[in-house]
């Protein structure tokens, strides 16, 4: 099978077919996924915002579409959604910057 693009919206709709090659693990994943996203100690709106932030951190186009919709559905507004994305971006930036301590230590060790 050939296709023009690596990412296609249609693939998300066929996510469920991953059980075709590994049914047991696939079904366990979907059960677990469903359980995780249910209302619990966190609301479904809070979980959707977390998922939206993670989607941006993992840069998954499927998840960005899916959780932008989920955020709207569960009552999050544009401001909250963008703040969630900023949290993801800030943590990613911080992850890079915190390694600079290692860089500084190494530089200091080698320097007079």
């Amino acid at each position: 099978m050939t296709k023009e693009n690596y990412f296609s919206k249609d693939e998300l709709k066929r996510f469920g077919t991953i059980t075709e090659f590994q049914e047991t693990m696939g079904n366990k994943f979907f059960d677990w996924y469903g359980e995780v996203m249910k209302e619990g100690a966190l609301t479904v709106r809070e979980k959707a915002l977390i998922a939206l932030a993670v989607a941006h951190a993992t840069q998954c186009p499927y998840c960005i579409d899916a959780y932008s919709s989920a955020c709207l559905k569960h009552g999050a507004d544009e401001e909250q959604m963008m703040e969630a994305v900023h949290v993801a971006a800030a943590i990613r930036a911080g992850t890079s910057l915190v390694y600079s301590v290692q860089m500084m230590d190494h530089v200091k060790k080698l320097s007079m």
Partner: protein, 357 residues
């Protein structure tokens, strides 16, 4: 502040979707767009509802006019200030009173529009209804209360007649609300809610019920009613000291102006697919068309408000009007279904009283 309208009615714009025939053609994949979805009727038939039948008329819903001070972007009635001639006459309202009085199964009279308060006979009608002992619901758009001094005393009038006020507020922020309902609507809605609260609406112990209606402000389905109600209560109390009783989550059905929006924005196929995918068989027994009869401004009868806006009148034909109201025939009728009905069965389901399950 005056409202800056989002749009004009489809009828005023000369939009072909002003024709209910064209709307039904679109929904059935025969016009504009070729997308075809499983037949809703077949889904319901497969569940053993062949045909879908009423459980009795408990709610008598009357659209007393398409005249409105707003022209909301999603309005399934295509209501607006231009629809001055489509308002229920006193003679038809009197006929409604006669039927309501003679039909013990009717528990609730649900008055809707347009802005029902703009019908010149509205107050007289509510006064008459309040003597019947039936529950009275008024679907109030809120802004009408502050739109003109002659409506400023509506909160006191509603309270005097123990009217259940059901009001649209699509979100607890200005931008989302005004995007759907017109610039200035949110601020006026907040003022009106404070006026309703001031006379006791939504306040514990008064028995004056104030319910809000949440419609998604775009091409997505409503989330959990319980969860959204919690957010609305918290935010409205925190931001504006406003209280209310219940939040009703209502799915936007793909008809009239919302259908036009879906087609114009390129969201029609995805939205229909989402409705179809979210079909929930558990909602079917509780569909509102089973315990409601819907009456149009000119006295015709429909299975629901949405069928009314698509001009799909009840079967059998001999009881299609107030003047030929036949309770036995209506109670044994077959409810008429079409593709828009997917909107009432998606997810937790949707009705004029909010989620079904």
């Amino acid at each position: 502040m005056s409202i800056h309208q989002k749009s004009k009615s489809l009828a005023t714009l000369g939009n072909e979707l002003a024709s209910t025939f064209i709307q039904l053609e679109v929904l059935n994949g025969h016009h504009v767009i070729e997308a075809k979805f499983p037949r809703f009727k077949e889904k319901v038939t497969a569940l053993g509802f062949d045909p879908l039948t009423p459980t009795g008329i408990e709610i008598f819903q009357i659209n007393i006019g398409k005249l409105c001070n707003q022209t909301c972007a999603h309005c399934h009635v295509d209501a607006g200030p231009s629809r001055k001639d489509e308002v229920m006459s006193k003679a038809h309202l009197e006929k409604c009173l006669e039927i309501i009085g003679a039909t013990p199964s009717i528990q609730t009279v649900d008055i809707t529009g347009g802005a029902p308060e703009m019908n010149q006979h509205f107050r007289w009608f509510v006064e008459q209804l309040s003597q019947t002992g039936k529950k009275i619901t008024d679907r109030c758009n809120l802004t009408i209360i502050v739109s003109n001094p002659k409506y400023h005393d509506l909160p006191e009038f509603f309270a005097r007649h123990r009217v259940n006020v059901v009001s649209s507020l699509p979100y607890f922020t200005k931008s989302r609300t005004d995007a759907q309902r017109g610039d200035g609507v949110f601020d006026d809605s907040i003022k009106a809610l404070l006026m309703l609260n001031a006379v006791g609406y939504g306040q514990e112990g008064t028995g004056l019920e104030l319910d809000l209606v949440y419609n998604p402000t775009g091409a997505f389905l409503p989330g959990s009613q319980v969860s959204l109600e919690g957010q609305f209560k918290q935010q409205l109390l925190h931001r504006y000291s406003i209280v209310f009783n219940q939040l009703y989550c209502i799915t936007n059905l793909p008809i009239s102006r919302f259908l036009d929006y879906l087609l114009q924005s390129g969201n029609y196929e995805d939205y229909m697919q989402e409705l179809v995918s979210a079909f929930n068989p558990a909602t079917v027994p509780g569909l509102m068309c089973r315990n409601t009869i819907s009456v149009s401004w000119d006295g015709f009868l429909y299975d629901c408000d949405f069928n009314q806006m698509l001009d799909v009148k009840v079967e059998p034909a001999h009881t299609r009007h107030l003047d030929s109201f036949d309770l036995d025939a209506l109670n044994s009728r077959s409810i008429l279904l079409n593709q828009h009905c997917y909107g009432c069965t998606a997810g937790a389901g949707s009705s004029c009283g909010g989620a079904i399950k």
